[in-house]
Symmetry: C2
Subunit: 692 residues, 2 copies
């Protein structure tokens, strides 16, 4: 190798070139010594010749092997070749770089000779160099493939022209029996679990081994360690083999844990030659109040100094991940599965739902009594959503802190392979009826004053902030919802209702025109108009709830002044929400349909419940609506309230089915929507393409 | 008043005007009823005539008093006047606004008449209106004056063209005796305390009283309540009077507490006519990990419905504050006060410091032994900074969790009127030597790759992230520093030192050229060069520490190979920091001066201390530097190390004074900088003018 040494062509400049993107490392030569250094391709070694030269040095010359590039910066203008002695200034600097990885350790050389006044040699300094290529790689361009050394891999930018890798919270369970959420386990027990993680590749190129004492170390901050875990595939070939033979103990050895809260830094093997070391990065926590979703993983090359001294990280490569947010699905998305409870008394309801679901070409999933223990409020216990990344996506159920008798359903039944689970814990004293997820909805996509919400906006109900003793959705859930960022929530006023859920006065249905949907609002005013019209047309004696104890005529309803006052109050509460929804969703009155619904004020605190089945509390399955059957006044054998509702919704191409939920839901202060849940197809639009 | 009623000129449009900035309120008329409404100037009432009209109505007419503006929107094109019957459509909408506040309740009127097919009158609806002007005002344009209804008052924008009001943490103490931090008290006990708060004014205009049941309510969120408190001046006149007569009990009644964590909403008086209600807003917490510094205060007008029903907020005005960050002051800022400790053994040091401080025209503040209890490390116990707002500014000391015997000094001595105090608490087990504030410095202003840091960047020292058992600055302090945002911190590697402070190897001095400063770095390499030059010139027998036990010659130092290896290691540690500082501060080698300092490695863990007084650990008072006297080899009656250091610094116009800290500081592992502290003049530049 020594024979290959030859004079380099060296670029000379009088002012140091300041390239902010190139990492420069200060390096010092030792006179009459041979030093050994590992160099990382893409960086520069900066050697101040003036400071390391023997005293009285006036000139210097440089030789190096062909793969070493050497630039000289000096205040003194120099000649063309550096093999002949050059004037040495106090600020003379060598910038060393190498274009390719070394084949053997120390296979590249640089020597500097220093001369005195009369060209007498004052000393030599020799440097043996080993060049390695190191790149910690992720899918920063979001195409599902881990590209090589993306220049933007260490940062996040939203939008279609953005960049930054994505991490899923590994919140599903690869086991369906004796299951637990995968991220709660410190080990990988099934191959299938790997696809819930993000691949990260350490690409290295260099000699078969690193010079003695050099090491690679993967490391994370203490804060990030609480949110991410890193596994390693022992080797690419072994990993592939293990995909076939899954023997648990052996398998865990194939995917050793590298980083977690107990191990913030860990040595990773340098494999030699050109090789890829594959890691699997596991997200542990969703964005929340104290976590913006961003995580950084670092890979450093450590240089030894001497026994007992800490190793110095001489090069660090970084990658950034953003944890995918939990995303809700509005009524305008295609339904996939419908969930209801079967109880001893809801046969009629189930029959109606079954017909509707069959008509819609969907499968009905029934939660039986041994599981629901009589708790029929399928809407309230959970909310379906999903998480998405370029490499994988799956549905995730958000379990409400409500915790009724349906409490075990989300975990015991829904959680499973590629079906995630997340919840937030609140103390029992904090939880109110407003924590049920009939009080958690999401609008279809909207544009508000030029700002796009392609995933719509989350809608929850709370008390007026000016009320001292109001009920609210618990803070941990609100914090979680706000932290997801992509569906910025709107807080409505729902505390005026006994139950207090937004789905008691609003819903969204698809529409072929305008914004692609209509907001449906319950409206006592619209109901009174129907009743007055009936009276006006001579149907004042038509009866609601015919044949029941509650039977009441149109005339009787219209003559009840107190009832009218109560409904005036309810209308003012709904109008308040109407004005806020118009503002926050950018709606006009033409985007809103008022459905005729009457309420009554029952509680000590003057809170309201629906007087007859609350038609706005419907299930929306594409164009098929399952609406609570209102049992309104019969005119010509038809229910006048159904007729009115159909006349409002059918022009939009919607099909209205009225489902009898009177005894089994309405009487218990809920309706069709409260008693059902729908898992829907995720958005086509990708959340990382949002411009936030 | 009835007589004044006249036909209005009404603008007619076929499409509703969508003005996103105007708050619209849905309002419903009642046929054959007189309703009363309070209207807030600047908003609109939207009345859907179609929905409130009697059945069979085909036409309508509108009359209103002159101060009421009424627009009609209808799908039907209408004529010029609305006093004659107009065609009524399903979507006919009235938009009501009023240009000025009412003089009396219900002094404005609007009446709508509905007609049938043949112009027969079907019904009338009457609305009595009371207009009020309401504006919750702050100094959103940051000129020190609370302007009226700034359109940007509800948001924050950084920069000279930005907006948003500013709040100080009320962290000083108006009392100098029996003191506590003012924000820990739930009451205002001194007039002077008001100037530490931000003024907020509720400006109202309207009738002498509001119609019955209407109220004004000031309110904040639960989260914000932990960070802000609001007081009210009982009335402008009374407040002025109380400025003169300060009788404590009376005074507290003059400034009642309106909002805190126990009271999230509170009624505030409507004073009638044109009046200002003054509030004082008190910041309680600095920005931190879980607090971005932004706070919102809301003012709502509440409308009564009926006894027992919650009042409805029909109008809400919002203002936003940002809590001023804690800002550090670099060495390049003008010194104001110098602090040192007096101990039984530091007479020489004190003499040197006194001379330097006198020469600089400053006052020296000495902490005496009864207070310091022998703890001389004035640098380590505290860091001086300040907080700034358009209305007020004062210095704030950050008390280190180090808690040596000097622990009480920041609170007992510094805290006082217009001198704030802040600290962060860590458990004793978390606190290490790296939590002393010799390990917390700040650079002068820099520009890095085009990004401006007009307040410089905070610099702390930690362990390499790749080290398992390294020491770090405790997380609560790091979180605090990062959260201030305006001086984005840089974490250097200082764990290689026994004491572990960044001030052991770096400092900044002012310079007339380049970036206005030089970074000084301790350099064993530079020191060896001095010693080799001495040997070369025949001064090999010149002695360091002459006449002491430690006396050692230049030859002896140069012949100690192990010592040379140790210093090689130290140089590599400092070089690592040098490279990081160059990158993170945008420096070139020409911005850095290497001061000759040697270290020795002493501890079990191979950590380093300065071998002779560490000249980089200096005090910087403008152009006057107080440098630890190195006791280097004497050549021609002069210390060669002093000569070298002077030759490096004097060309920048700096004056070097060498202070003897050998026995009283250096031997205890600290130097001049460790034993002193300087309070400096705040930046002229205002932090809110930063472009972040």
């Amino acid at each position: 190798m020594e024979q290959q040494k030859k004079t380099t062509t060296v670029r000379k400049r009088s002012v140091p070139h300041s390239d902010a993107n190139v990492s420069q490392r200060t390096y010092r030569l030792k006179i009459n010594n041979t030093l050994r250094a590992v160099y990382v391709v893409g960086t520069k070694l900066k050697i101040n010749l003036g400071s390391c030269a023997p005293l009285q040095s006036k000139f210097f010359s440089v030789k190096c092997t062909p793969n070493v590039q050497c630039q000289v910066f000096s205040q003194v203008q120099a000649g063309k070749s550096l093999s002949s002695p050059q004037p040495l200034g106090r600020d003379t600097v060598l910038l060393i770089s190498m274009g390719a990885a070394s084949l053997q350790p120390n296979d590249s050389k640089l020597s500097v000779r220093f001369y005195g006044d009369k060209s007498e040699i004052l000393g030599n300094a020799l440097l043996h160099l080993t060049a390695v290529e190191i790149s910690l790689d992720v899918d920063a361009d979001r195409d599902g493939i881990v590209e090589k050394n993306n220049p933007n891999k260490a940062s996040w930018k939203w939008g279609p022209n953005g960049h930054g890798a994505i991490l899923l919270v590994n919140c599903d369970s690869e086991s369906s029996y004796y299951k637990k959420v995968d991220s709660e386990s410190e080990e990988i027990t099934k191959v299938a679990d790997l696809k819930d993680m993000s691949k990260m590749i350490l690409r290295t190129s260099g000699p078969p081994v690193l010079p003695e004492g050099y090491k690679l170390s993967l490391h994370i901050s203490q804060t990030d360690a609480e949110r991410v875990r890193v596994f390693r595939a022992r080797s690419t070939k072994q990993a592939e083999a293990s995909l076939k033979s899954i023997f648990l103990g052996l398998f865990q050895k194939e995917y050793p844990l590298v980083l977690n809260t107990k191990q913030l830094a860990n040595e990773v093997p340098y494999q030699g030659g050109k090789s890829d070391l594959v890691f699997y990065v596991e997200g542990l926590h969703f964005p929340d109040k104290d976590f913006d979703g961003l995580l950084t993983i670092n890979l450093s090359l450590l240089e030894p100094f001497a026994e007992g001294f800490p190793e110095t990280p001489i090069f660090t490569d970084k990658v950034m991940f953003r944890v995918a947010p939990w995303i809700m699905t509005p009524n305008t998305l295609k339904p996939l599965e419908v969930f209801v409870c079967s109880t001893s008394d809801n046969h009629e309801f189930l029959k109606g739902i079954k017909q509707l679901v069959q008509k819609s070409g969907l499968k009905l999933k029934i939660c039986h009594e041994y599981m629901n223990r009589g708790d029929r409020w399928m809407q309230d216990e959970l909310e379906f959503g999903y998480i998405d990344s370029p490499h994988h996506a799956f549905p995730v159920v958000l379990d409400s802190p409500r915790n009724g008798d349906l409490d075990n359903f989300p975990y015991d039944v829904l959680l499973g392979p590629d079906f995630g689970y997340v919840t937030r814990y609140a103390s029992r004293i904090e939880v109110s009826s407003l924590d049920s997820f009939g009080n958690l909805e999401v609008s279809p996509p909207v544009t508000v004053n030029g700002k796009n919400y392609p995933f719509g906006r989350i809608i929850i109900g709370v008390a007026f902030p000016t009320t001292e003793d109001g009920r609210n959705m618990t803070k941990v859930v609100q914090d979680f919802l706000w932290a997801q960022k992509v569906q910025e929530p709107i807080a409505l006023y729902s505390d005026w209702l006994v139950v207090g859920h937004v789905d008691e006065f609003m819903s969204f249905v698809p529409a072929p025109d305008r914004k692609g949907f209509r907001l449906l609002l319950a409206s006592p005013d619209a109901a009174y108009k129907v009743f007055r019209t009936l009276q006006n047309k001579g149907h004042g004696d038509a009866k609601m709830f015919p044949g029941t104890e509650e039977e009441v005529s149109v005339d009787m309803i219209l003559s009840d002044k107190e009832f009218q006052t109560e409904n005036g109050y309810v209308q003012s509460c709904i109008d308040w929400n109407r004005d806020l929804l118009k503002k926050e969703l950018g709606l006009e009155d033409e985007d809103i349909i008022d459905l005729p619904v009457l309420f009554k004020v029952i509680s000590e605190k003057n809170r309201a419940v629906a007087f007859y089945p609350d038609m706005v509390n419907m299930i929306v399955l594409g164009k098929n609506l399952g609406i609570p059957k209102p049992f309104g006044p019969q005119v010509n054998g038809k229910c006048a309230l159904e007729t009115e509702t159909c006349s409002l919704l059918e022009p939009l191409g919607l099909n209205c089915s009225f489902i009898d939920d009177f005894t089994s839901y309405h009487k218990l202060l809920g309706e069709v929507h409260c008693g059902s849940n729908v898992r829907r197809k995720p958005f086509e639009f990708k959340w990382w393409n949002l411009e936030l």
